[in-house]
Symmetry: C2
DNA sequence: TCGTTTTTTCTATGACTGTAGAGAATAGCG
DNA sequence: CGCTATTCTCTACAGTCATAGAAAAAACGA
């Protein structure tokens, strides 16, 4: 029997190589040749694992979402209400180099989704899932009396969704005015508005 | 003397054709041939007006910003404070078909800006200009007593910037949950948070 | 009507792309 | 050591793209 490779693991290596290329050289630089080279292979070696480029990209984009979702689940474990909401949003905000790179991936993804129905659906599903989480956490916050604002939960969830998505853009394209510290302060400022001026953010582990 | 064309006007025709193509078929469909055809010309006719594709795109993107800025100037004339702020943001939000198409343009633009220094600078300058306007309007609102929130103006301006940018994405990729009506309500909800629960939006001219 | 100058068309070119598939290289097993 | 199934390399191909530039067309003044 010949050399045996773990196909799933290999796929993950290729996805990570893709991820690095897009973060470094943008989507234009993400050619099959470049990706293969980055992963340490020659041109045609990707085909057995991803028969087409679109398969590779779809898998790569999905993986970024899964990564974020896993982080969010871990970060909100044991929390509820505004505390959970804050932890949740902080996992999406580009607050470190890794998440800034994720922003560099998601922007090209949005552009693809504009003309690719299946990617648009993938995005819509993920965003709907996030929105549902936010609404749940807002509901908890209402019940706990943490949330006194006379604005509908739907609108608040919309604010937060647009805020964290917009932050993907500003963090990458205007880093001077939207540094991690500033984005973090922005989120806490918004939560303070929600709480009616009484919300104080937990001690923030620096960096 | 031969046929004479107004070069500036011709450039504008070409930019509008580009704009239509990108809105309809996405950035991938915006080839020189397609743009020329859309404008009613043959392949090579663009060169005298835009020597290279990048020149054309840079001009087209700049034009969208100018268009938005002109609209904002008109919409805020005679207003100040929160009223001006509201009118200002409403000109950026994708509240009608035209502005939804602008969102379809700006998303590919962001992606280009990720790896194109000059486009990144163009974006940063425009965003900085908008942010300055917002800060000015917030200052007016503070002086007029419209704004009681105990959150810094910098953070509020950041909220609004991220909100209107995020709305470009949600409006196009999740139109079901971010319709013009919902985005408009979101903005007013946020302003209500700012005013401390007392802000009531002016009668909205429907559509 | 003709001639000149601008404008536009049309074809060619070279670069780059994703994909395909034949062959070589490789590694585990007898 | 040798066999064989798997993995990988390499070359080739068809398509698309931006761009260049020669030639044709058009329009205005005389």
């Amino acid at each position: 029997m010949p050399k045996i490779v773990d196909h799933d693991q290999r796929r993950m290596e290729l996805v990570n190589a893709t991820w690095r290329i897009i973060a470094r050289h943008g989507m234009e630089g993400a050619t099959m040749r470049e990706i293969a080279t980055e992963a340490g292979f020659a041109n045609g070696a990707l085909k057995p694992y991803f028969p087409t480029k679109d398969d590779l990209l779809a898998f790569a984009f999905g993986h970024v979402f899964n990564q974020t979702n896993a982080r969010m689940a871990a970060a909100t474990r044991g929390l509820s209400g505004l505390g959970a909401l804050r932890a949740f949003c902080r996992e999406i905000l580009p607050l470190d180099e890794n998440r800034i790179n994720e922003a560099r991936i998601v922007i090209p993804f949005w552009q693809k989704a504009l003309t690719d129905e299946s990617k648009a659906r993938l995005h819509d599903d993920a965003m709907e899932q996030w929105r549902t989480h936010l609404l749940q956490q807002l509901h908890e916050a209402r019940e706990a009396g943490e949330l006194r604002a006379e604005v509908g939960d739907e609108d608040i969830a919309g604010h937060l969704m647009n805020l964290v998505l917009g932050a993907q853009i500003t963090a990458v394209l205007s880093p001077a005015h939207y540094s991690p510290d500033q984005l973090s302060a922005q989120l806490d400022g918004y939560l303070q508005l929600l709480a009616g001026g009484t919300f104080s953010s937990p001690a923030v582990e620096k960096k």
